[in-house]
């Protein structure tokens, strides 16, 4: 059984079709990478899974999108987004304290108990491998952290509301190599508890961290298979050209 699944997914931004007939299944407790050149639809598909595309005007969506075999359009969109968390390309902490950033989601779901919030904040920061760096400065503004720390804070913020899926849209593209490797280690850890889908431009990154990789081109899913197979023995010529760096 798949954790996330789409069947014949089509999406239009106005007149432009961004996704064409995509059917894909994501396995639970795994890391799946979406790769492909810019504008291939990988981020668009990612944003379908928690209905972030609803926020963009003139978007038309057709096909089935399932979370645990339930159509996500039959679910309350706010409940869906609590189950399917998202980390964005650029770190986007709120201009509040470190503590309040993580507590934000807890307060949204109606958390009132101070100690419970405190415990969950700590746990989430530990899960995001940030606790050791921010313990003791929780009341400092989140924007005083470095870029890499900010991104891990955003991950902690997402983990705090206990999602089952975490979507990551090029989470390391704005970071330096050291911060990137910390994020990658973290993703590897998180796999134990969460299902992770990551969009990346960096093919080595996809090869390093993911179990499965999907290659998109011009809105179509060209190939989807185990990561090692995708990088060593792709079936499709375009996949081969892309992973060997001949285009894209």
């Amino acid at each position: 059984m798949f954790k996330l699944e789409t069947r014949n997914a089509n999406l239009w931004y106005g007149e432009k079709q961004a996704l064409k007939n995509i059917s894909i299944g994501i396995e639970p407790n795994s890391v799946t990478s979406f790769i492909g050149p810019s504008g291939c639809g990988k981020s668009t598909l990612l944003r379908c899974f928690n209905r972030m595309n609803d926020l963009i005007e003139n978007t038309k969506i057709k096909g089935e999108f399932l979370l645990d075999n339930t159509d996500i359009y039959d679910m309350d969109v706010y409940e869906l987004r609590k189950k399917v968390g998202m980390v964005f390309q650029k770190p986007n902490p709120f201009p509040k304290s470190i503590f309040e950033n993580v507590a934000y989601g807890l307060r949204i779901v109606g958390g009132k108990d101070r100690n419970e919030i405190k415990d969950k904040v700590e746990l989430s920061l530990k899960n995001a491998a940030l606790w050791d760096e921010v313990n003791g400065i929780l009341n400092k503004p989140a924007l005083s952290l470095s870029g890499g720390q900010q991104q891990r804070l955003c991950i902690a913020r997402t983990l705090a509301i206990e999602p089952t899926v975490v979507l990551m849209d090029e989470p390391a593209s704005a970071l330096d190599p050291i911060s990137t490797s910390k994020i990658e280690d973290l993703i590897y850890e998180l796999k134990q508890k969460f299902t992770i889908v990551i969009v990346t431009h960096n093919m080595q990154q996809a090869a390093r961290i993911s179990n499965k990789t999907a290659f998109f081109y011009l809105g179509e899913l060209i190939e989807f298979d185990n990561t090692d197979k995708m990088f060593t023995n792709p079936q499709n010529e375009r996949t081969q050209n892309y992973v060997t760096g001949r285009f894209g």
Binding site: N50, M52, L55, E57, Y78, E79, L80, R81, K82, G85, M86, F88, K90, N92, P93, F94, P95, K96, Y104, G105, R107, I108, V109, L143, C154, R157, T158, I161
Partner: protein
């Protein structure tokens, strides 16, 4: 021939530079002359009694106490009326109804309202609040009139402040399952607060200087008491200044200048605070 026109072009350029610089200096000079003129005429009259005394038919005994008190009470009610309405409308137009037809219509309407002469608001206030709603020429009628007058300013600045909030913050909030109102009230609004505050202070500073609409709704020029409730009659500092300015006796002109000094200090103080907050806030949003 070419060389000739080239030199001429350079001369024009140089000449324009000095003409333009002198125009700039002239505009700034007018401000300086205005301030010097008023201070030299009125500063001698500024003393404790001037603030404490009631208006009087003797210029030397006249003070601005009732005018100041009336102005402050008027502002208090104006803010209470206009602030919530203006901020909520601004939030709605920018954050909720960006593209729909109603919002478009309201936007055109607001841009038009911002250009309606204040004396017309006076006619509206006189007919609607003073006569139809029978509020008389009271503080509350004045506050409602000024409230409508500054509403477009508050709405426009609220919208601008909200427009400056980066979309990435909204996405982060929605991505965690926050609703529209949760995102608006907990993320967007606190972030925009600095900009909104600036707009409010500028609106208040505008309301302080307004004279014409209050004259039209029948605010009195001679009020020997401090208003105690919203239904009381009132006068304000600009009205008091207007009254003194139109008197033939030189002693009242001195009073007018002294009143203007107080009015200008309040106006400049408010504008200074607004600029200070705006600069602080700009630093915050550029991150």
């Amino acid at each position: 021939m070419r060389r000739y026109s080239y030199t001429r072009a350079k001369l024009t350029d140089r000449a324009f530079k000095y003409v333009a610089l002198s125009f700039t200096a002239f505009a700034l000079g007018v401000l300086v002359v205005l301030l010097i003129d008023i201070f030299s005429k009125g500063i001698a009259r500024i003393n404790w009694d001037f603030f404490r005394n009631l208006p009087s038919r003797h210029a030397e005994k006249s003070g601005i106490m009732t005018a100041l008190a009336g102005m402050l009470s008027l502002l208090f009610f104006t803010i209470i009326i206009a602030l919530p309405i203006g901020i909520l409308a601004g939030i709605y137009l920018q954050e909720y109804g960006k593209k729909n037809r109603l919002a478009k219509l309201i936007e055109i309407n607001i841009s038009n309202l911002a250009g309606v002469p204040s004396v017309i608001y006076g006619i509206l206030g006189l007919t609607l609040f003073v006569r139809i709603l029978k509020l008389g020429n009271s503080l509350i009628a004045g506050a409602l009139t000024l409230g409508l007058l500054i509403l477009p300013i508050i709405i426009v600045t609220t919208r601008e402040a909200i427009r400056a909030v980066p979309d990435s913050l909204r996405e982060a909030s929605y991505g965690m399952g926050a609703t529209k109102w949760q995102t608006t009230s907990k993320v967007v609004f606190p972030f925009a607060l600095g900009g909104i505050l600036t707009g409010i202070i500028l609106a208040v500073s505008r309301a302080i200087g307004e004279t014409a609409p209050l004259l039209v709704i029948g605010a009195l020029v001679y009020v020997p008491f401090i208003p105690e409730g919203p239904r009381d009659q009132f006068t304000t500092l600009p009205i008091q200044i207007f009254n003194w300015t139109t008197r033939p006796q030189a002693a009242f002109i001195v009073n007018a200048a002294a009143g203007i000094i107080v009015l200008l200090l309040i106006t400049f103080l408010l504008n200074g605070i607004a600029i200070y907050i705006r600069n602080k806030w700009y630093k915050k949003i550029r991150y």
